[in-house]
Amino acid sequence: MKKRGKAMSLVLHPTGNKGAGDPSQAAIALRPDGTFTLIIGTADLGQGSNTILRQFAADALDVPIENISVNNQAGNVAPICTGSFASRVTLIDPHAVVNAADDLKDKVVNWAAGMWEVAPEAVTWADNSVFVEGDEEKTMTMTEVGEGVVGSAELMIGTGAWYPAPFTEHDPETGAMESVGAISFGCAVVEVEVDTETGLIDVLSVIQVWELGKAVNPLTCKQQINGGLSVGLGFALAESCHPYYPDAAHAVEHLTDYYVPTFADYPAEISHGIEEVPHPAGVKGAKGFSEGSSTVPISAIISAVHDATGVWITEVPLTPEVVLKALEA
């Protein structure tokens, strides 16, 4: 018999390393033609860090985004990024990028002020140029700045770094650890169909909403939410490297024994929503969330299976074997 059930879930996802002390650094170089290279040590594993950090750099410099290239493969000269993990990059790296942009602007403004023999405060950086307000002779496009910097034997590289807080340990007595970077919140509504004869669970629909501070790039947010679902589907329904855990028998050694969900396993209906409560620790309110998109569907699926069958199956994943055993118990 096929039984349908529906349920919701609410989870959190923290951003940043436990205990903080996880810095990122960035550098922005002005090129001789007035374009920019953003240099970071941040691995882009598909999550889109290059994409969003370039957006932050363009806004911080107030220049066309096409004028900024990203170099995150600079090997032994790359600035430090503690790592592309713990959903930390969206919270931490933008601060480093903005600080690097501010540093570069300061350096260029000071250089231009020297060229024009005016006070630095008189020089404005805006619209991809520097100028002295009200003085038509004292204005340079960024291309002219780039050329001029080289011609006056200068190098313009802005640098910046940031972390949420210095590293702390747990208090040995209470376990207290007061600093957390920022926390995002996910809510899912899921409908499933359980085949009580085969134990197979079909996830019919998933609605997933994330409160993520600021959607820096709504397109990549959508991709993370809908893509992260696959890890959650696998965790909830299929993937187990030791299927008779804790027994090591039949430990998985081939993909034929280890089922990773494909698009064919995706629910017929998926939809995503974004909610923005600006976080005080983030640049423009942004905080990381994406990893949580794998978390929030799992408990909703388990609760929906209970709604369908009346049984709480709390040994995950809910493979057909596990489901049938639970229904028969």
Binding site: L10, A43, T82, G83, T174, I183, E239, Y258
Partner: protein
């Protein structure tokens, strides 16, 4: 002012990735490149009694072998500095690297591995965390007396995170809801399996093409192994063909680098999908025991959580993971009395490492199913139970962090709206800004 932040924009470099022209580590080729295959432990626990490469060195195409004796620096790596690059002696899990064979191609190297005369005395392993905690259990880490991780120098084997008085809270509660949650081992299954290319460049530096997710962490781990300063290593990375946490762990860079140093040639070391699936670190298993105290009106007054994490044979990221999981395992809820007891237990499995949503995911799954079970017990709508208890700005979590910029209620309102669920006005009027 430009306003790119907030705009939907296509992925930088995305075109190359979707059309297949992007260059990944495995695409890197050098003339005269050598290849590595690794001899792995055939048993979950054992002692190496003999290791004879005489037949290996006769295999056509085999250039040489790499053992622990070839390591110029220290034979230690890992976040907790407890893993051996090549383990010559006390084997702790099936698939643990013992030695490597370097050949002109992968087939030759593999034939060389198969020709090694390895004599191992098999010992009784332990796979069950709860068995491993018993006093007479086989000891996973030679030289220690317990299979529990010690969180501090005083030998504390359970990390306590507490807020308020959980005993008093449970006594005060109208209902107690208990639940056990068992969560399995998951593989990262990234599209790009583990791989590394290393060579000595024309300045004499060791260049490594890596897919590391955390170049700085890994460089700091690799330098002592090679006995080289950071300026002597050109660690080239930045593009990763899917990581999901699996590339927070060094699987190939150390061995490829050592082979390049020994044989003074470009070296590629890559795992097949099977090797990656069978032998590398995974999201480890977790078992949780939840005991929650709740009042008739739905207020949660106490949460007692016991957390057991199967670390495998080495630390991996596990001690960090159990602590982080514990800090958030009571969920996004304002609970005055919390006691978390976190345990990291060693077994004879591959090390447990980070994976997407790492450790927090495991606790959240348990915490959220527990909430639905509490709602069922009270006969209360699951939305209402969560609305009543969800954090507001200024609330405090288990390890005494104060939450700010909270959006749990806002996320729920939007999700309910999208699902066509009409929430009662009393819930819709609630806000994360105040209680």
């Amino acid at each position: 002012m430009t306003e790119y932040v907030g705009k939907p924009m296509p992925r930088y470099q995305g075109l190359g990735e979707v059309t297949g022209t992007a260059t990944y580590v495995d695409d890197v080729q050098y003339p005269g490149m050598l290849y590595v295959k690794v001899l792995r432990s055939p048993v979950a626990r054992g002692t190496v009694k003999g290791l004879d490469f005489s037949d290996t060195l006769k295999v056509p195409g085999v250039v040489g072998v790499l053992t622990a004796d070839d390591i110029p620096g220290v034979n230690i790596y890992g976040v907790y500095g407890d893993q051996l690059v090549l383990n010559p002696q006390d084997l702790r899990y099936k698939g643990e690297p013992i030695a490597a064979v370097v050949g002109r191609d992968e087939d030759a190297a593999q034939a060389g591995v198969e020709a090694v005369k390895l004599d191992v005395e098999e010992l009784t392993p332990v796979f069950d965390m709860f068995e491993a905690m018993k006093p007479d259990a086989p000891i996973v880490r030679p030289g220690t007396t317990s299979n529990l991780f010690e969180y501090d120098e005083q030998g504390t084997t359970t990390r306590i995170i507490k807020l308020g008085d959980v005993e008093a809270g449970l006594k005060e509660a109208d209902h107690i809801v208990e639940g056990r949650y068992i969560e399995a081992i998951q593989d990262h299954a990234a599209m790009e399996p583990q791989v590394s290319v290393a060579l000595i460049d024309d300045a004499g530096r060791l260049t490594i093409h890596t897919h590391s997710q955390c170049l700085n962490y890994h460089l700091a781990q690799l330098c002592p192994v090679f006995g080289l300063s950071q300026s002597k290593i050109n660690y080239l990375g930045g593009r990763v063909g899917g990581g999901y946490g699996g590339k927070n762990e060094i699987n190939c860079d150390h061995i490829a680098g050592l082979a390049a140093l020994k044989f003074c040639a470009p070296v590629k070391y890559r795992l097949t999908r099977q090797e990656d699936l069978a032998y590398t670190g995974k999201r480890g298993a977790w078992v949780f025991d939840y005991k929650t105290g709740v009042m008739n009106d739905g207020r949660i007054v106490a949460s007692h959580i016991k957390e057991y994490h199967d670390s495998g044979a080495y630390c991996g990221f596990s001690p960090y993971g159990t602590e982080k999981c514990g800090m958030f395992a009571s969920g996004p809820y304002n609970i005055p009395n919390i006691l978390i007891e976190a345990n990291t237990i060693f077994t004879n499995r591959y090390p447990s490492i980070s994976m997407r949503g790492y450790s927090v995911l495991n606790g959240q799954v348990a915490a959220d199913v527990q909430m639905s079970r509490i709602a069922e017990k009270l006969g209360m709508d699951p939305w209402e139970l969560r609305f009543i208890n969800a954090w507001r700005d200024g609330d405090m979590g288990a390890s005494r962090y104060v939450v700010d910029g909270v959006g749990a209620l806002e996320a729920m309102k939007r999700a309910a709206g999208m699902a066509g669920i009409e929430l009662p006005d009393k819930l819709l009027q609630m806000s994360s800004r105040s209680r």
